[in-house]
């Protein structure tokens, strides 16, 4: 079936395709239409799920934790302040090894109140032990929800998939929607390895002392490492079954490019157009889209960026006191390669609080990075007013 859906509706329909069994969610702009659509899908019988209408995002995540611990497939969605309120329980879900799937609509943090997109909400949760996908289109949102369950339930870690506020959440696109039966061939019903069972009672989450805590964390790291391969296979299998795939990272016109724009989210779409334009004008420029941020696809990023002249990382976020977060990630990945293959890496801060990242903005970055002096680790803020 093909329908014209917003990004938010695509997220909801993704959960419907995956037959989420328990939804636990709380409204926040611009996520609201995800849970409204889910409420409709449940009410009209298209999705056989329990929908716990909680009183806060903190409880939304606690609801996913409880239902998942009981052995059900769960879904939730949030944004910005709501995601921040969940923070404690994001750790809980990950350390509890519960494969919860959540959509986060990227929205800037307050104050002042902003409902517009940037990545600081999701990136502030980077270190909670969740897998993180950044999506570029509504189709990718729906497909990534389905893939997320496949990966999460294989490695027993939760997955957050991210879509830009308004640029995706409230923008309509044509989206292919597989049926629940088709989806079930790719994603079989959830069979938890361990869950609350009165016939086989276990205690979960009790006190651990210094002698075993590190081992629990190490096992998460091992699972995260495994998740890279699992996620790649999940994407390959998805492509085989549905004819669409995205990779963990996606190179665009990079074969012979000296200069690389690193992007994520909807900025990647704009960058594709810009790269086409710049190519016509004779610039040796390509684009690398980062779809999966955690686990970080080190090897793939190294392989692609190795030997380039310069890399410009576009960060729609700011770690104040350090710089753009994707820039740090890329620099970290590129440190351990031979010096003669290591590109200079430049960080650009763009589009905070939903400010438009137009083709002109991206073109100005592509031109800037070619003529800028030696990279010194400074961040360049684009389009700042005096």
């Amino acid at each position: 079936m093909q329908k014209v859906l917003t990004g938010n509706e695509a997220a909801a329909w993704g959960a419907m395709c995956a037959q989420a069994q328990v939804i636990s969610a709380y409204p926040i702009t611009p996520q609201t239409t995800i849970i409204e659509e889910l409420a409709n899908l449940v009410a009209n019988g298209m999705l056989d799920a329990r929908f716990i209408k909680v009183e806060s995002e903190h409880s939304a995540m606690a609801g996913c934790i409880g239902a998942q611990a009981a052995g059900a497939r769960t879904f939730t969605a949030t944004s910005s302040q709501g995601l921040a309120l969940m923070h404690e329980l994001l750790h809980w879900a990950a350390l509890g090894r519960l494969p919860v799937v959540m959509a986060d609509v990227n929205r800037a943090m307050a104050p002042g109140w902003s409902i517009w997109t940037d990545q600081n909400d999701s990136l502030a949760q980077r270190d909670t032990g969740w897998l993180h996908y950044y999506c570029e289109s509504n189709q990718e949102v729906l497909d990534t929800v389905i893939q997320s369950y496949k990966v999460a339930e294989t490695v027993d870690l939760p997955v957050m998939l991210v879509l830009d506020a308004f640029f995706l959440s409230h923008t309509y696109e044509a989206v292919h929607i597989p049926s629940q039966d088709e989806t079930a061939k790719y994603l079989p019903p959830y069979k938890p390895s361990i869950y609350l069972d009165v016939k086989d009672p276990h205690a979960f989450g009790g006190i651990v002392q210094q002698d075993v805590y590190m081992e629990f964390r190490y096992k998460m790291q091992v699972a995260m490492n495994e998740a890279l391969e699992v996620a790649e296979k999940a994407d390959d299998d998805f492509r085989e079954m549905f004819g669409r795939g995205y990779g963990l990272i996606e190179p665009y016109r990079l074969d012979d490019a000296d200069y690389v724009l690193v992007t994520s989210g909807t900025v990647a779409s704009t960058a594709r157009v810009t790269v086409d334009d710049l190519r016509e004008k004779g610039h040796s420029v390509g684009m690398l889209k980062i779809r999966m941020l955690r686990p970080f696809p080190f090897e793939k990023v190294r392989q692609i960026l190795s030997g380039r002249k310069r890399v410009a990382v576009l960060d729609r976020n700011i770690c104040v006191g350090m710089g753009g977060i994707f820039t740090q990630e890329i620099r970290n990945a590129m440190y351990h390669i031979p010096e003669d293959k290591r590109p200079s890496i430049y960080g650009y801060i763009v589009g905070l609080g939903g400010r438009d990242v137009s083709p002109e903005v991206i073109a100005s970055i592509a031109e800037d990075v070619q003529k800028r002096a030696v990279a010194d680790g400074e961040q360049v803020w684009i389009g700042l007013k005096e």
Partner: protein, 303 residues
Amino acid sequence: MEALSYLKHFKEVAEHEIMHSGHVACPGCGAAIAMRLALKTLGRDTMLIIPACCWAVIDGPFPYSACSVPVYQTAFETASITAGAVRAGLDATGKKGINVVAWAGDGGTFDIGFGQLSACAERNDNIIYVCYDNEAYMNTGIQRSSATPWGAWTSTTPGSDYKKERKKNLLEIMAAHRIPYAASTTVAYPDDLVLKFRKAMSIEGFRLIHIFSPCPPGHKALEKNSILEARYAVESRVFPLYEVEDGTKYTLSMDPPTRPVADYLDLQGRFRHLNKKERSFIQQAVDEEWTRLMHRMRIDEAL
């Protein structure tokens, strides 16, 4: 009113030990006794959701558990919603006939988990919520909570800065949500506790059981006096035993012989600093609350 038996119904459930020795509760811990009695009544088809509280420790360190039912430990403020969601998960996967029990202390109930508790009650989530109330944050070292009574010493209400605020009336607040069942009980009356858990099990929807739970270190009381303290709490009408069905139907479980509040206070070092005037203030407040409760019992009849 029929006299309350102590051990008749307790004997009916005495064979089933579901909580075992090897737990790490302090000697004389009311919360350990409460769990033992509750699990005997609830049986093995029970799941416990335990937030941060003494019981998060009492159950034993990984990989041990003192309870031979599933135990899920969760964040401090989330016992109610996690239990509600466990129920949703069981419903969604077609599992029936299981008691889903949130088992939280007074901090997790009266304070940090209060919003979640109210929301769960409003949704009428199908769980039994148990608050074992030792009237302070005992697990972290006796800090005051909104369940700490007026006049009590705690480590954050020291010296002349003893607690000057009254205890929240949990049962009244929960009754105001019109939940199907709310009841108070304590470890000094095993039959009362057993009967209230039995009744809770027979009802669907949000059920709350408030258990007064003596804490020897926190109340600065002798370990051997825990049961006596709980009994005096009831007899002095500091902690009346009653039930509220559907938020309106009040039933007194026991009309106790009147015992002076002083007998209750004298068992505990946490009230030792109070002078005569302050002690009589407590007596007066207890008498007023009792009268108010008696009036409330009759409101429904009047309607």
